[in-house]
Subunit: 207 residues, 3 copies
């Protein structure tokens, strides 16, 4: 029940982030709706297809469909006011990736995959909706360029498997690993931490 509420909040945040990017690109109503969908369910769909869970999970649970359509309509109607919700949306989104990461890991574990693959699939679940959104909008995916986002998911995933060595309580592991994702992202944004640059200043001038 608790998890379902978080899941819905995450879906709302992902769908709205899709709407905002699509409006920026001046898409029509149909395009906006598709981008909202893809952002919310794209990561999980890619995971399901690669692991072999078909039909992909959102297709058998209408809750997602209604939540995404509702969020998209809400975001389109109130788009001039949505700046006021920016902090809430950021929080929902961050909670969402925490949850999606752990759900992705557990899906991969059930399929009997290696911990490193599980962490990769957890990160994919959380991040690739945004990647597909950016590709459809003809942008280089933002998470490849400047945000501590995937890195937070990877840290959460490592926590998950570290805890599994010492703790028997699955719910506890689930919550702590998700919290590590959320805390890492919040701290990184608050203190403007980013990955160490691969490029020297001289490189930057050349860019």
């Amino acid at each position: 029940m608790f998890i379902q509420i978080i899941d819905i909040l995450g879906t709302v945040a992902f769908a709205i982030s899709g709407v905002l990017v699509a409006l920026d690109k001046r898409m029509d109503a149909f395009g906006v709706l598709i981008i909202a969908f893809v952002t919310a369910v794209g990561g999980g769909s890619l995971r399901d297809v690669m692991v072999g869970i078909e039909p992909v999970s959102w297709m058998t649970n209408m809750t997602y469909v209604y939540v995404i359509i509702g969020s998209a309509a809400f975001a389109v109607l109130l788009r001039n006011k949505i700046a006021y919700l920016r902090t809430s949306l950021f929080l929902f989104d961050t909670i969402g990736i925490g949850l999606y990461t752990v759900v992705g890991i557990e899906t991969a574990l059930i399929a009997g995959l290696h911990p490193i693959i599980c962490i990769a699939l957890g990160t994919m679940t959380a991040c690739f909706g945004g990647v597909i959104r950016d590709i459809l909008c003809n942008e280089i995916p933002v998470i490849f360029r400047k945000e501590i986002y995937a890195t937070a998911c990877i840290l959460g995933g490592m926590t998950y498997f570290l805890l599994r060595k010492f703790v028997a309580d699955n719910n506890f592991i689930f919550v702590v690993a998700g919290a590590v994702v959320i805390a890492t992202r919040l701290l990184a944004v608050k203190f403007k931490i980013s990955l160490p640059s691969l490029y020297k200043t001289g490189d930057d001038l050349a860019a």
Copy 2:
């Protein structure tokens, strides 16, 4: 038999539309062939992969392969004359999306999915070949921006499920739903109807 002819006409139109976009991007012969393929079978492949029908259906029916290779060769050879065929191509393409929508819906129904998901998969079957074509050619997908295209598929899908409540004859439903897609698209193009804009004139100036 009748359906198979329509299916082939739709495939021809989709493949040729791929060739024309690829030639615009000055791709080489191999690139042109791939884009023709992807445009014709991309939507159905995505549907099959998400529903779990594998190998995806065009791989087990060589007719598609021969039709696409033939259409691509034809379009490359006659590309300076193809302007004369524009009306025929538009008709084939419109008939094609009508058929692809209904085929997608029925595939999803057989997999036991919810009507809304079926309509989404029907629309995906008809439209996502073009979306993948545009992504491979580094364009924002045209159907997200300005055409009554997906909307026609969605209306046809709604007709399909409305009729199912009252009519027992599946062939009748199939034909009427497909005809709604075709008629919507033809009327929209003839009378220059598009989705109501989400943007105000002031927004347009800012773009």
Copy 3:
């Protein structure tokens, strides 16, 4: 054993080619790693998903994961020196596509598919990692524009099925078909052979 070494060399070359493109786009460390992965395993993943082999094969063999992470780290650290390795990388890459093509064909054969589909899947295995890399980096895929690359794979694939009519020894067919891919690509690059242009000089001026 011999095949495994070639496979690893191909994976190294593909991963490094991904790193170089990602560095050009000034991606952060995470983006570089993802592009390295996608370039190395993207073609095989797409093949597996379309044929229905799930979980996709690299997920059940950790060798790939370690080789890709190692190659990516190596390429990032030594990126200023990597120009000296350009010839080796070109060779690895060419050997890699030879091998990947034949592996793709045999995977499709086991799934009972038609020879033309098998050749298409072999070519996809060898080439589509690079295609997805280019899409994620917001470029029109390079193999659609100017290289004898896919064409080499198609020739190798045709050799494979031609030999199967006359030769019983599968290992022999495997090696010869792979060698045809490799030789075609080497000769094409050495003698600057490309596909005959679809465009007239007049077209070029207009471009």
